[in-house]
């Protein structure tokens, strides 16, 4: 089990943060291009599933998986989106994404008045905390499956 990568998007679709751990294959396009694709896809899936939903939806979609990876999605009411790709063995990690939001993003970015919101995150502290947080996850293992 392992974590491949993690994206944080703000409500306008700007990629605030990108982190990569055990990613063996790159998309072959520029990072900006990749962020746009990732955001566009999550945006489309989200609006698609909410249109198709037989009941009023509150939390949007949470995860989808392919034969090789699993994508975990978390969105706050303020429109912040956290997307994490892992391999297939990882259980539903909504809580973990919420924790990244509440204990890392809010603590180190929102509460730091010098960090502009809506811009790529420059905070070293946040980056290192996030990195150690992900590395400490129970399903994080350096040996990629």
């Amino acid at each position: 089990m392992t974590v491949h990568n993690l994206y944080i998007f703000d409500r306008n679709g700007t990629c605030l943060h990108y982190g990569e751990w055990n990613r063996k294959k790159q998309a072959g396009i520029s990072k900006d291009e990749e962020f746009k694709l990732m955001y566009g896809m999550s945006f489309s899936i989200r609006s698609f599933v909410s249109k198709m939903s037989p009941l009023d939806m509150k939390d949007g979609f949470m995860t989808f998986q392919t034969s090789r990876y699993k994508l975990h999605y978390y969105e706050t009411p303020t429109g912040l989106k956290i997307i994490m790709n892992t391999d297939l063995g990882v259980p539903n990690s909504r809580d973990i994404l919420h924790q990244i939001y509440s204990t890392l993003y809010v603590e180190y970015i929102v509460k730091n008045p010098l960090c502009a919101l809506g811009d790529t995150l420059q905070s070293e502290l946040f980056n290192s905390r996030l990195d150690s947080f992900v590395r400490a996850l129970p399903f994080f293992s350096a040996r990629a499956a």
Binding site: R11, F43, P77, T78
Partner: protein
């Protein structure tokens, strides 16, 4: 007023006098700098907005509140959860307009004005207009455009403090321009 720390989740008390005096110093300094009540109100509102934009994130992280279904639920959450959490008071929600898009928050006591007596030469000053900005800023972040103003204020001799909130529109989320 109690403030809670996120990391340890045990409640951390903050001295409410210090908070009240800090806000008082801020307002009087603004009055000195701008010499015009309307301008001071505007500045307080602007500061409040900037606070609200960030405060909502903290609020969502700490409370388990999700997206609200309607404006009534929003009103309840503001009064019972948010005011309690940040100001230590619980205003009552009343005076709904028939259309359900406008309501009042009635504050029995307003911790911002504990020692304040408004001097006669500040007739137009809305002392607590920071609160309006906070409410406007934080609701804007959850896709609600609202109009917030003070309808009654104990500083002007009214019995209670009344904050009037009017729902204007839902801010729709759109794909950013240039993306397909």
């Amino acid at each position: 007023m109690s403030r809670q720390s996120n990391r340890t989740s045990d409640s951390k008390k903050m001295n409410s006098e210090l908070f009240t005096l800090t806000y008082g110093a801020l307002v009087t300094q603004l009055c000195k700098d701008y010499e015009n009540d309307e301008e001071v109100n505007k500045q307080l509102d602007k500061m409040g907005y900037n606070i609200g934009v960030r405060l909502i994130e903290d609020f969502l992280a700490r409370s388990s509140v999700g997206r609200c279904h309607d404006f009534r639920e929003t009103a309840d959450v503001i009064a019972k959860v948010a005011f309690k959490m940040y100001l230590g008071v619980t205003p009552s929600v009343t005076n709904w307009s028939p259309a359900g898009d406008e309501f009042s928050l009635i504050l029995e006591s307003n911790p911002l004005v504990d020692f304040v007596e408004l001097p006669d030469n500040h007739n137009n000053l809305v002392y607590s207009s920071l609160l309006c900005g906070v409410l406007r800023g934080s609701l804007e972040m959850v896709q609600m455009a609202v109009d917030v103003r003070f309808a009654q204020d104990t500083l002007r001799g009214d019995n209670v403090t009344e904050i009037r909130m009017k729902f204007i529109k839902r801010i729709e989320e759109n794909l950013p321009a240039g993306d397909e």
